[in-house]
């Protein structure tokens, strides 16, 4: 047993941005946000919250229900505004891609997989020829193990969620946001999706912020996991993922953490 190594990985680390010259893909600086609560009382979700996602880094966000994980993603996506503080994007000209938990209702069942994947490019008004080129490039970069002429309902849940990730990747996003991408999937689909996502993230070198309520989901995917405390949320601790090579759940470096 490599308990020592695991303990080291679990030890709280001081907040340290990834080193290097490139500016972080996402720099969340001293963000304050109150959500409207019951009886007009505002509920402080974030107070002076800071987090950085480096270029090509996959960061996991883990925390109790209601700790503001989705609120944070919505703020990074620009769907919500922070009350104070700022969220700096390294490449503001590029879009943010958002993958939702509910893949059934976030894909368009009346379009083929190909049309679904290309939808963001069509919405941005890109000519058909360029869209095709982008798709060819994506297919060369990542593995798509099903026909693009199929309809979403002909695919398994994991494959459908993979389609919505591909739809995010096709636009060459500045950051990919994943909100509980596995929680509507069964165990086999989750395992399959984690494997294809690991390869896709490595091939595309995309910066990503991923939310999950299950720490095991992050292993092999996230380089760093931020454990959020309850409200107001702050990073209670950071876990740097050791490299791959684990197969069993109990070998997961996060398995011992009881939140």
């Amino acid at each position: 047993m490599d308990t020592g190594c695991a303990m080291e990985a679990l030890a709280p680390k001081p907040f340290s941005p990834p080193s290097g010259d490139a500016p972080p893909a996402i720099d969340i600086r001293h963000v304050f946000r109150r959500n409207p609560g019951r009886r007009g009382k505002a509920d402080a979700v974030f107070e002076d919250f800071s987090l950085r996602v480096g270029q090509g880094e996959v960061v996991g966000l883990f925390g109790p229900n209601g700790s503001g994980k989705t609120t944070l993603l919505n703020m990074v996506a620009g769907l919500l505004r922070p009350d104070a503080g700022e969220i700096v994007h390294a490449a503001p000209q590029r879009r943010v891609a958002y993958v939702f938990q509910d893949y059934k209702n976030s894909l368009f069942p009346w379009f083929s997989v190909e049309t679904n994947i290309l939808f963001p490019l069509a919405a941005a008004g890109m000519p058909v020829k360029m869209r095709r080129e982008r798709l060819t490039r994506l297919r060369r970069t990542v593995d798509i193990p099903f026909g693009l002429d199929k309809y979403p309902y002909q695919l398994s849940g994991g494959q459908q969620q993979y389609v919505s990730v591909l739809r995010g990747l096709i636009g060459d996003p500045s950051v990919l946001l994943l909100d509980e991408p596995f929680s509507a999937l069964d165990q086999a689909s989750t395992a399959w999706l984690r494997e294809v996502l690991r390869r896709a993230f490595a091939a595309c070198r995309v910066s990503a912020l991923m939310v999950s309520h299950d720490l095991a989901h992050f292993s092999d995917l996230a380089a760093r996991v931020c454990v959020l405390s309850g409200r107001p949320a702050r990073v209670a601790r950071e876990i740097l993922a050791p490299r791959r090579g684990r197969k069993r759940r109990e070998d997961c470096p996060y398995a011992g953490i009881a939140q």
Partner: protein
């Protein structure tokens, strides 16, 4: 195989009907035997006049429905997609839906005269609120997430409407169409019964009643039912092809 059971049931009903008629349990004036009705039907089918009546009724129903569809489907989509418009139109639509369309027939006669226009207008008046309500409800019941996703990916209003709202509302457009078409046939027949049209199944039924021609009455009733069933099945087949994802 799935058609066999309904057909068996139908056969049993016809045999029962024939038995009742043969045993003389019901006055033959009110219940002619199936054989008599079948003879009448064969006789009628050779008569050009009968087919002309069926065609006239179907034409009124379809024309009125078509008019209502051209207004109701786009109207329902727009009203359903906008929160403000829905708040404005919900009550008026419910109000007009509560008026039995046939009540408006005398007014339509005054406005459009005794010809085709008044009948078609009343059919359209009956179908329009049905289509508006079903389509608007269909748009509103669609998952919000899909619209948010499209907006999040930068889709403009037009793309949102054509790529997300319209396909999402297609199932409810078909539901509205099927309900409205049944209503259209009903209204068309009733207007023909009220004021004599030269052609039409409604007028035929009234004439048969006056002449005590019960086999003819039964034939007419059966044909109206068959026409309605055919329209409904046709719609269902089209729906299964178009709305392939449900």
């Amino acid at each position: 195989m799935r058609h066999v059971r309904p057909l068996c049931l139908l056969l049993v009903l016809v045999v029962l009907w024939q038995a009742v008629a043969l045993l003389g349990l019901v006055n033959p004036m009110f219940l002619p035997s199936p054989a008599e009705v079948w003879d009448k039907a064969r006789h009628l089918s050779r008569e050009g006049r009968f087919l002309g009546d069926v065609a006239a009724t179907l034409w009124r129903a379809l024309a009125g429905f078509g008019l209502a569809f051209c207004l109701g489907a786009p109207g329902g989509l727009v009203v359903g997609a906008s929160e403000k418009l829905f708040a404005c139109f919900e009550l008026p639509i419910d109000y007009f839906r509560s008026i039995p369309p046939v009540v408006a027939f005398p007014l339509a006669l005054l406005l459009f005269g005794i010809g085709e226009a008044s009948r078609i207008a009343v059919v359209a008046f009956g179908c329009l609120p049905i289509l508006l309500v079903t389509v608007a409800a269909g748009v509103r019941s669609g998952p919000r997430l899909r619209r948010d996703v499209a907006r999040c990916m930068g889709a403009g209003r037009l793309r949102l409407f054509w790529s997300v709202i319209v396909p999402g509302a297609l199932p409810s457009i078909f539901v509205g169409t099927r309900v409205a078409l049944s209503m259209a046939v009903i209204i068309a027949v009733v207007t023909e019964m009220l004021v004599g049209a030269r052609f039409g199944l409604g007028g035929r039924v009234t004439a048969a009643q006056i002449a005590y021609d019960t086999p003819e009455l039964y034939c007419d009733i059966i044909v109206v039912g068959l026409a309605g069933l055919a329209i409904n099945k046709l719609c269902a087949a089209l729906q299964a092809r178009v709305v392939h994802w449900e």
